[in-house]
């Protein structure tokens, strides 16, 4: 090191260690300021016939595992999947004019959720978002109401014929069993199960068609191109 430099340092009472530490702090500070601030904490993601879905709505639904079963199979696009479900819910509920009492079902769902996630975690997550249980109930209410509307609309009208059961048995069940190297059970033993599966699939198809029809007539605006960018950091903070 040059004598002049050392001389200056000695006057400033700075040591080499000080320089190192200051540099570290500067880099550390820059890292957080450049990569963290400022941040969009909430915004409109979609508008469905003048009803708004915000980023917080999607985060809440994701945080409390509302669609956990369906999401399990997804490798990517979870936020968009949730957005689609919320849009479907809003469309169906907007059409319904009757008042449906589902308080008991809402409480049962909430109880089930608390048992699954744990009370403490529920409270902690609610606190992070500034919500209380009543706020959470609103999301649960919408979900259950949607399910009830679907069930009322399509539950009774779906009929499964014997032909359909037979075709399913021969065309789907038997090949799958053979692929697995298993002996297919007689159709008579599986009637109820197959009927249930076909009914579920039919209802799902009816619902899809109905929702697609509602979507074609609705005014839906998606305000964000890439929803995933708002969920990049989520994995480390909220499961």
């Amino acid at each position: 090191m040059s004598s002049k430099f050392l001389s200056v340092l000695s006057h400033l009472n700075f040591s080499f260690h000080h320089i190192l530490v200051s540099s570290f702090f500067t880099l550390y500070f820059l890292f957080f300021t450049l990569f963290i601030f400022p941040e969009t904490i909430d915004r409109i993601i979609a508008v469905v016939n003048d009803q708004v879905i915000t980023l917080t709505d999607i985060r809440i639904v994701k945080a409390f595992g509302f669609y956990e079963e369906e999401i399990k199979g997804l490798k990517a696009g979870v936020p968009f999947f949730i957005l689609e479900r919320l849009i479907d819910q809003k469309l169906a509920i907007q059409l319904s004019s009757e008042e449906v009492k589902i308080d008991k079902e809402v409480e049962a769902y909430l109880k089930n959720m608390s048992e699954k996630i744990g009370d403490e975690k529920v409270q902690k997550t609610l606190a992070e978002y500034g919500f209380d249980l009543d706020g959470l109930r609103e999301y649960i209410y919408e979900k259950i109401l949607f399910q009830k509307l679907i069930s009322r609309k399509f539950g009774q009208s779906v009929v499964v014929t014997l032909d359909e059961i037979e075709n399913y048995y021969k065309g789907t069940y038997v090949p799958i069993q053979k692929e697995k190297g298993l002996e297919p059970q007689p159709m008579i033993e599986l009637l109820h199960e197959i009927e249930s599966t076909i009914r579920e699939n039919k209802i799902k198809k009816h619902v899809e068609d109905w929702i697609n029809k509602l979507k074609s007539q609705a005014d839906i605006q998606i305000k964000v191109e890439n929803l995933n960018e708002y969920f990049k950091k989520e994995g480390s903070k909220i499961e």
Binding site: M1, S3, L6, S7, L9, S10, N13, S15, V21, F25, Y28, F29, F32, F35, I36, F37, P38, E39, T40, I41, D42, R43, I44, V47, D50, V52, T54, L55, T56, D57, R59, A127, E128, Y129, G130, F131, D132, G135, I220, Q221, I222, K223, K233, E234, S236, K237, I238
Partner: protein
């Protein structure tokens, strides 16, 4: 050099030795604290409890927002940070209709800095289509749904609009167009012009049309009917019309279920041609046979046009035939139906036994204790039978069964039963409704629970149900709505009301309204947005609610009504945005409408009885009107209008200035200036004048009006002797002040059926500004409309006019014609000039008109008949007024009701016509007698 450096280094390190340990400790503590706490602020979801919001700022379209806009945001500085509050605020702000997108940015950790970023909501001002000129722009605008002038605009809608446009163009025969869009935004008015450029649409010629399937009809005939032909342009919408036409042809051949589908459309792009294949499936030929009665087949055919359950079709046909026959008086008809199916034929046979035709003489009720027979008739709309006037028919008679049941159920008789019996007397029949009322369900007790803001008695006054009253479940629901409205009217929001109905005994119920009261909300701030031209003061003047008031719903509604009355806004939204459960901001979002209005009208007028219907005799004259209005001038809702009216007998030009307020006073004012020329019976005149009118509404249907007027009149073409007028004051000037009081309680000003109208006008003309007239004139009018029975109205009009002083001829009272006295021609009632026998008018007028109006035919609801009696006269002087001098006329008429008043055709007989004069006069008029 090296040795010196080494010495310096040693010195350097030795000098630090003493302070080093102290500094080390300080640095260590600082480093530890920084490293531990700093990362926690980098993730917004992890919050400390009670982190406060340091500041809230806003940006609109990249520019900082004003103080007014900041007041909009329910999230305030100093309150704890909460994502729930923020997400709710975003939803509330969106509902104001002012913004199309909202983002919230956060900075800071211990102190949070929020920025709300808004994108304005734009509205489509105008839509332009560029490109091919021969595509109808009007049609494109009308059929384009996603982008419409006046509706909210978003970029997403443009993509949808392109798809729609392609479909519309395709249906008009323009295929594979390239469509690009562009927009021009006006940030000041939040409006956007949308441009669609349509390029290179292709057109195709029809090369070949093939008809497949069971054609049945001759192909040449089918092709002749079609507009789509080989060699012509292919237009899908025209092909659709052709298919409908062909289906109609098959229908007329009794192939009601025929289907014609487009089997294939093959495009040859190289040759720009298209081949069309239609498949015709006629299905069965349907024959409907009705035996035993003349029934229009158009009644039955539509039932069988679709594929239906045959049992249902037969039953439906039977029901329609029976209903039809009952309407014709065949009250006891019977119908049996059957169906025969052939290979390609279906035959539906209805065997009808009509029975005897009867006239319904009377309707009576038995067994009813709750209602008297006359009460039942009134409630069911059954009027008394009047000779020569059609009464109730058989079909309606049977409908009464359901109506009686519904009426009783509404009054708590849930178990009632009603039967219809007949007593036949030759060709007449008396209908007897036998009613078993059953017991009436009543309310034993009615109460409210959970109310703290209001006394229970106060709440119970708002509902229709009461203790001891009848019980009817739908009424309970209506009462819930009434209570909810009451809370809203009192400024309370968030109230939930659940009714509980408990059966307390046999047909006795207790009703409890369980109320979860919301909070009484105060208005913190009123924010006005969307006004570009309109001054804020103009809007504030119409507010009936102010900052600091409770959010009384009625006042909010009244504010909206008053703003609508200004007539300058196309959309008015008043949104309540909650800051806290007890405080809210009121956001008034406005959209200003277009300011220029032009209209042209052309029609016919007559002031004499019609002798012929050619316009050359000037009996029926053409008439035109033109009008230009410029509204919202200076942003103060002022209106300027120019009106011109012209016909062969009169010309008029009027310029008007209208203001909703007068220098801050709540007075609607008009300033009018006019030029007119009119030809009357005994004179013609030119007049110019100016007037100022102020109108003050006292209540919904009462108002005061004051008018200051100056007019100069030049009379010419005088048909009476000059001694009848003041020759020395020729032309005449009149300056006058008049006051009017109007009280209008009619149910409809154009087609009144009940109510009354009263007006009182007093006019004093002063000889000011070199004006010659010096008179006092008074005019009183009273109209009354009384519904007598269902559809029949009795109306009466009383008019009294009195004047004194120097009244020139054009200020005198005249009478005669379709709107005053129908025994004389227009203006001909009253004193005449002894030489020319032309009317001279008078200083007194007394007129009475009586009319009985009744429906003509039940099937034509807007056609009425009328009998009238007019009595009155015009008197030269007030002292000549005498009841014995009143003339009488009677008459009949037909009138057809339109939204702007009835079209009347009337015949009047003057019972006091002098010998040699016509007794019967005919009139055609639009509007009521006034």
């Amino acid at each position: 050099m090296k040795r010196e450096n080494l010495v310096l280094m040693l010195k350097f390190t030795r000098d630090f030795d003493l302070q080093r340990k102290r500094q080390k400790a300080i640095w260590f503590i600082l480093l530890f604290s920084f490293l531990f706490f700093f990362p926690q602020i980098s993730f917004p979801q992890i919050q400390k409890s009670f982190t406060l919001i340091k500041s809230v700022s806003i940006q609109i379209e990249g520019q900082p927002g004003g103080k007014d806009m900041k007041e909009l945001i329910p999230v305030k500085e100093g309150e704890p940070f909460s994502l729930k509050r923020i997400t709710e605020s975003i939803k509330q702000l969106y509902s104001t209709g002012l913004f199309s997108d909202i983002q919230v940015i956060r900075e800071g950790e211990n102190e949070i800095y929020l920025t709300y970023i808004f994108a304005k909501r734009f509205f489509t001002r105008e839509v332009f289509f560029l490109g091919k000129k021969n595509i109808s722009r009007k049609k494109l605008k009308e059929e384009l749904d996603s982008v419409r002038e006046g509706s909210p605009f978003s970029e997403g809608k443009l993509r949808k609009a392109i798809k729609e446009l392609k479909n519309i163009l395709r249906s008009e025969g323009y295929f594979y167009p390239e469509i690009s869009t562009s927009t021009k935004k006006n940030f000041k008015t939040s409006s956007v012009d949308v441009f669609f450029e349509i390029r290179s649409p292709k057109r195709f010629l029809v090369k070949k049309i093939s008809l497949l399937g069971q054609v049945i009809l001759p192909e040449s005939r089918l092709r002749e009917e079609m507009k789509t032909k080989e060699g012509r342009r292919y237009v899908p919408s025209v092909l659709e019309e052709d298919i409908s036409k062909l289906k109609g042809m098959y229908k007329s051949m009794n192939y009601h279920r025929a289907e014609i589908d487009i089997e294939a459309i093959d495009f040859d792009e190289r040759e720009a041609g298209v081949s069309i294949t239609l498949k015709i499936t006629p299905y069965e030929r349907l024959e409907i046979v009705v035996r035993g009665a003349q029934i229009p087949l158009s009644l039955i055919k539509p039932i069988w046009e679709e594929r239906i359950f045959e049992e249902w079709g037969l039953a439906e046909g039977e029901a329609k035939i029976i209903d039809y026959l009952r309407g014709k008086g065949y009250l006891f008809s019977a119908v049996y139906s059957s169906m025969e199916k052939g290979e390609d034929k279906i035959r539906v046979v209805y065997k009808v036994t009509p029975g005897e035709k009867y006239k319904i003489q009377d309707i009576s009720f038995e067994g009813s204790e709750y209602f008297t027979p006359s009460e039942l008739k009134e409630k069911l709309g059954i009027r008394e039978k009047i000779p020569f006037v059609s009464w109730i028919n058989g079909s309606r008679l049977f409908e009464l069964l359901k109506e009686i049941e519904a009426l009783y159920r509404r009054h708590g008789f849930s178990e009632m039963r009603v039967d219809l019996n007949f007593v036949r007397e030759e060709k007449n029949v008396k209908a007897l409704f036998y009613i078993e009322e059953g017991s009436q369900e009543k309310i034993e007790s009615i109460s409210v629970k959970g109310t703290f803001l209001f006394k229970p008695d106060e709440l119970l006054k708002q509902i229709s149900s009461y203790q001891g009253g009848l019980f009817f479940r739908p009424n309970i629901q209506k009462d819930v709505e009434r209570l909810k409205n009451y809370y809203l009217e009192q400024g309370v929001r968030g109230t939930e009301i659940a009714p509980e109905v408990i059966k307390a005994g046999e047909d006795i119920y207790s009703v409890l309204f369980d109320i979860k009261e919301g909070k009484r909300v105060k208005i913190e701030k009123i924010i006005i947005a969307g006004n570009v031209i309109t001054k804020k003061g103009t809007i504030l003047q119409e507010l009936r609610i102010k900052e600091g008031d409770y959010a009384y719903y009625e006042l909010i509604r009244e504010t909206k009504t008053r703003l609508e009355k200004l007539g300058i806004f196309t959309e008015i939204r008043i949104e309540e945005v909650f800051i806290t459960p007890e405080r809210e901001n009121l956001i008034i979002s406005l959209r200003e409408g277009k300011r220029n209005y032009i209209s042209l009208g052309i029609g016919l007028e007559t002031k004499n009885e019609p002798r012929t219907f050619t316009i050359w005799n000037n009996v029926i004259r053409p008439r035109g009107t033109t009008e230009f209005i410029r509204s919202n001038m200076f942003g103060r809702a002022f209106q300027l209008s120019l009106v011109g009216q012209f016909s062969l007998k009169e010309k008029r030009g009027v310029i008007s200035w209208e203001q909703p307020n007068f220098f801050g006073l709540p007075l609607q004012t008009y300033l009018n200036a006019w030029l007119e020329r009119e030809e009357r019976k005994s004179f013609s005149y030119d007049r110019r004048g100016i007037s100022f009118t102020a109108i003050k509404s006292i209540s919904k249907n009462r108002l005061f009006m004051t008018t200051l007027r100056w007019a100069r009149t030049t009379i010419f073409n005088l048909q009476i002797s000059e001694s009848e007028i003041d020759r020395q004051h020729f032309p005449f000037s009149a300056s006058s002040v008049s006051g009017s009081f109007i009280w209008d309680r009619r149910d409809d000003p154009f087609n009144p059926k009940k109510g009354s109208f009263f007006s009182f006008v007093l006019e004093r003309a002063y000889p000011l500004f070199r004006a010659e007239s010096d008179y006092l004139k008074n005019f009183i009018k009273y109209q009354n409309y009384l519904p007598v029975f269902s559809g029949i109205t009795f109306s009466s009009i009383f008019r009294l006019g009195l004047g004194r002083g120097r009244m020139p001829i054009h200020e005198r009272f005249f009478g005669g014609g379709s709107n005053s006295f129908r025994g004389e021609e227009f203006d001909e009632l009253g004193p005449r000039d002894p030489d020319s026998l032309k009317p001279v008018g008078g200083k007194a007028l007394l007129l009475l008109n009586f009319e009985l109006t009744f429906p003509f035919l039940p099937s034509l609801r807007d056609l009425f008949g009328t009998f009238f009696y007019d009595k009155g006269n015009i008197f030269a002087k007030r002292k000549h007024v005498s009841l014995a001098s009143l003339q009488d006329s009677v008459g009949v008429g037909i009138r057809y009701r339109t939204p702007l008043g009835p079209i009347r055709f009337e015949l009047g007989w003057n019972l006091d016509a002098p010998k040699g004069e016509k007794k019967v006069l005919a009139f055609i008029t639009i509007g009521n007698v006034f």
